[in-house]
């Protein structure tokens, strides 16, 4: 049972807590969320403590991540979306930190839980929908009717557009969760082979080294994809295609 590849995703309550009848225990998942919070704040705030005109290495990294997210928002959603910059930046760095912390052996990957990724994508979805309706009123529903399509085509297109709109939070959350879970499960499965194959365990071990590199790329890429898709949805809400 100890070698079950899914054991790594188990939630362990470290401190049992309850507030208003709701279980708010401090779990291993909470440990890594707090760790991500601390890592990001330390990275940004300590990196900028000198406020140097000519940045050092650390400050350069902070500025590069700032400009990465700023450019991402400007390129996909335009300059009007800059007011949501702190949210997108927090989203990107939070997912990135959780993914990368999860790559440390014996650690826990918060983003491998569908409830966490779905909560984030659901928040983005609801937020984007509210922004869309508050900017365009009922005109926001024009999003479901692509311009220039013939009326006959619209009969087919509108249901498809509506379904694809409401499926967004699911696809967004499942993409991140499935990538994280699959990668970590695969690593665990191959780690089991290393022991059971004895001498020949060197082969799955070599494979695991390569896979770990791939997983680090996936960890960065998925954080980027999650935030860029949030920007694209934001663009729809602001500019209606």
């Amino acid at each position: 049972m100890a070698h079950n590849p899914l054991d790594q995703f188990r939630i362990n309550r470290i401190v049992e807590l309850e507030a208003g009848g709701i279980d708010v225990s401090f779990t291993n998942s909470s440990v890594f969320m707090v760790a991500a919070l601390i890592v990001i704040c330390a990275f940004v705030i300590l990196g900028m403590r000198q406020k140097a005109l000519v940045p050092g290495r650390w400050q350069s990294m902070v500025e590069m991540s700032y400009e990465l997210v700023a450019n991402m928002i400007r390129d996909t959603a335009g300059s009007e979306a800059q007011r949501y910059f702190p949210f997108i930046f927090s989203l990107f760095t939070f997912i990135l930190a959780l993914n990368l912390l999860g790559m440390i052996p014996y650690s826990f990957t918060v983003t491998s839980h569908i409830v966490v990724t779905f909560a984030m994508s659901g928040f983005v979805f609801i937020g984007v929908t509210i922004i869309g309706f508050s900017r365009h009123g009922i005109g926001y529903t024009k999003l479901f009717a692509p311009k220039g399509a013939s009326p006959i085509l619209l009969v087919i297109l509108i249901p498809i557009e509506i379904i694809s709109y409401f499926i967004r939070p699911i696809s967004l959350s499942v993409r991140l969760f499935a990538n994280m879970m699959a990668g970590h499960t695969m690593l665990k499965v191959f780690a089991g082979f290393v022991i059971s194959l004895g001498m020949y365990g060197i082969l799955p071990l070599a494979f695991m080294v390569a896979l770990t590199g791939l997983e680090i790329i996936v960890a960065i890429l998925q954080a980027y994809i999650f935030s860029i898709l949030a920007c694209i949805y934001l663009n729809d809400a602001i500019h209606l295609h």
Binding site: T27, S29, I45, S90
Partner: protein, 165 residues
Amino acid sequence: MPQLELNDFAPQLFWLVITFGALYLLMAKVALPRVSDVLLSREQRIANDLDAAQKLNNEAQDALRAYEAALSEARAKASALAAETRAKVQADAAVQQAEAEARLAERATEAEAQIRAARDDAMANVREIAESATRDVVSQLLGTTPDDAIVNAALDAELTRAGLN
């Protein structure tokens, strides 16, 4: 699958809201303004430096233009002075040359007059010399003294032919 353990949803969502909310507030209110301040001040500093460089460059261009103007003015003045001097020298030389030529012409006329006088004198004597020479030649050859009328007639004819009479 631990991901589908419904009892674990509440604590995860609770801590997600707490940590992400704290992250958002810290980023929006504390961390990101610092980054944007630094980026903005750097941008301004670069823009200011570029402005200052542009201003200095303009000043240098102005100085260069002023220098070139002064230089061309000086050059014009110098060439005007040179032309003036050249004209004066030429005028002086022309005057002196004219004077010298006048002097020479005067001397030439004088000399011509002297030459003409000397020639006239010489011409006056030609007939006398020719007459005596003729008498001597005739007396030597013939042993007689020639008739004056015949000698004079021959001399007149001969001198007329030579254009000296």
